[in-house]
Amino acid sequence: MICPRCDSKTVEILTKAPVDDAWEVYICTACSFSWRSTEDDDIKNPDKYDKRFKIDPEKIHLFDQIPPIPEQIKK
């Protein structure tokens, strides 16, 4: 399975529905995107996921850090 948002192959099953076997939830370990098996195709299908919200996994490390990590104070 491919992540619909970042196209990585790092998708895991996060959980099954607690009751009724109604759906499964998946998560991408590269970009933390998660989705449910019962959602629309434009959420689940990498080709149909809105391009404005696509993420390049190579660039994640360049994103802003909030809040910034402070200098460590040695004891």
Binding site: A22, F53, P68
Partner: protein, 473 residues
């Protein structure tokens, strides 16, 4: 107050015809967010209890704060109380601060305790709030943390609302913005490379959610304020770990700790300005314990293009602290309406002591802790203009403003990064529009206001009764 917790508040809302129950099963997507969008658009903006969500065990409640009627009932007022009156009632109750909490035994939130094989989806009917959110979010949680330098200082304990992205069965992301109180706690913990214990509280007394999104001072306790507004102490208990004070009557508590000195991708998330935030690197929280009531109700918040529930939740609680901070130095200030996008837009009504007074009051607002970063557009109107009545405010703008003298820009000041017009994110140019009538030594053209005819109050009452009788009420 007639309610002690969320459950009792829902009973009260039902008695007041401010709660609807959906009994047939609904899908998590797209039904829950669609229900959350529709509820505040209904004429009376009721809360909606969804009893069965497919695949989940527990019920969901949405739009608990999503109308002026529900807001009035939360404050113990008649549901048809006008907004300006709710503002002044809130101001009265505010004066009872601090009303200290009590710690109780047998807290209902401890009825069930889970420490092994935690799976948030087992307890929480999670759903996507807006279509391009990065995942499933807790949008109405109350997060408790302590100052690591002073773990016994109750007043410096913080109770705030920060967005939470579910990233695993026992892992979530959190957004502490640098100007939020929890960021002070996190900075101190990270300087020592220590985890920061937190409690994520869900399904709370509506006044606790109200206070957790109120910009009060660092060393003021949200619990003491909520007690003041309630007129009785909030009931607290201790967390299982971390020595945190948590609400005893909430539906669900997720206990965990922020992993120090690490940032992972979080977002985007549809935010209160009505647009998506970007994706950023933010801290993560490991959940080690869940306690909850039997059959817990999951409360969450849909936020969309304003107005939705969040706009009611962050309206008067943004206005009142700003009003109080201005009033302290400028007693002429009559009221502050900071209801627009958490105070990005503010309307102040004040009498002018001397020429230029309106501008001075606006500049003070822009140097308050909240106004400094959030507020971008400040409109100042005369003391006889109701700042909660936008028709009156527009009258003041159209008939009082001299654009060459009364409009001021302050370039490149602190800003609110979630405002998409903040550029770069976190910088604002401030706009002040002084729509007050000039007083000496400033000089405007002579103008005489139209007065209300005599006996207007008598005829208003007469016509109201006539209208009621004709409707057969």
């Amino acid at each position: 107050m007639e309610y002690k917790d969320l459950r009792e508040f829902l009973v009260l809302l039902e008695q007041e015809n401010q709660l609807l129950k959906i009994t047939e099963p609904v899908m998590p997507e797209p039904d829950l967010s669609a229900i959350g969008r529709a509820a505040p658009d209904l004429e009376n903006g009721p809360a909606i209890l969804i009893e069965k969500v497919k695949g989940y065990k527990n019920s969901v409640v949405l739009n608990v704060h999503g109308s002026w009627q529900n807001h009035a009932i939360m404050l113990g007022l008649a549901k048809d109380t006008p907004v300006k009156e709710q503002f002044f009632e809130l101001d009265k109750k505010w004066s009872s601060y601090p009303l200290k909490p009590v710690w109780v035994k047998d807290a209902p939130v401890k009825e069930v305790k889970i420490t092994e094989e935690i799976n948030l989806f087992d307890i929480l009917p999670l759903f996507r709030v807006n279509k391009y959110d990065a995942g499933f979010y807790l949008s109405k949680a109350l997060i408790v943390s302590k100052d690591p330098d002073e773990p016994d200082n109750f007043d410096k304990q913080n109770v705030g609302t920060y967005r939470i992205q579910v990233k695993g069965k026992d892992l979530v992301g959190i957004q502490p913005l640098p100007f939020h109180d929890i960021a002070i706690h996190l900075k101190k913990a990270e300087e020592r490379n220590e985890p920061l214990p937190i409690a994520i509280c869900l399904g709370n007394d509506p006044l606790l959610n109200f206070m957790s999104s109120t910009p009060i001072e660092y060393a003021q306790s949200e619990y003491d304020f909520a007690g003041a507004l309630k007129g009785e102490p909030i009931e607290l208990t201790k967390s299982e770990q971390g020595n945190l004070d948590i609400p005893a009557r909430s539906e669900i508590i997720l206990e965990g700790y922020i992993l120090p000195r690490a940032r992972k991708i979080e977002g985007p998330f549809g935010e209160f300005p009505g647009s998506y935030s970007g994706a950023r690197l933010q801290p993560e929280v490991k959940i080690h314990t869940i306690t909850h009531r039997v059959n817990p109700i999951f409360e969450n918040l849909y936020l969309g293009m304003p107005w939705t529930e969040i706009d009611y939740l962050m309206a008067l609680n943004t206005s009142l602290p700003l009003y109080r901070q201005l009033k302290r130095d400028f007693p002429e200030v009559v009221a502050v309406n900071a209801m627009y996008t958490h105070g990005i837009g503010v309307i102040i009504s004040t009498k002018s002591r001397f020429g230029g007074y309106g501008k001075a009051v606006a500049m003070r607002l822009l140097s308050t802790p909240h106004g400094m970063s959030y507020s971008k557009i400040v409109i100042v109107v005369d003391e006889f203009v109701d700042p909660f009545n936008l028709e009156q405010v527009m009258w003041a703008l159209t008939t009082r403003v001299r654009p060459d003298k009364d409009v001021v820009l302050i370039p490149y000041a602190p800003g609110m990064p979630l405002d998409p017009s903040s550029e770069p994110a976190g910088m604002h140019t401030k706009l002040i529009i002084d729509a007050t009538t000039p007083v000496a030594p400033d000089k405007g053209r002579d103008t005489e206001l139209l007065a209300v005819p005599e006996k207007a109050a008598y005829w208003m009452n007469y016509l109201k009764n006539l209208s009621k009788n004709q409707k057969g009420e």
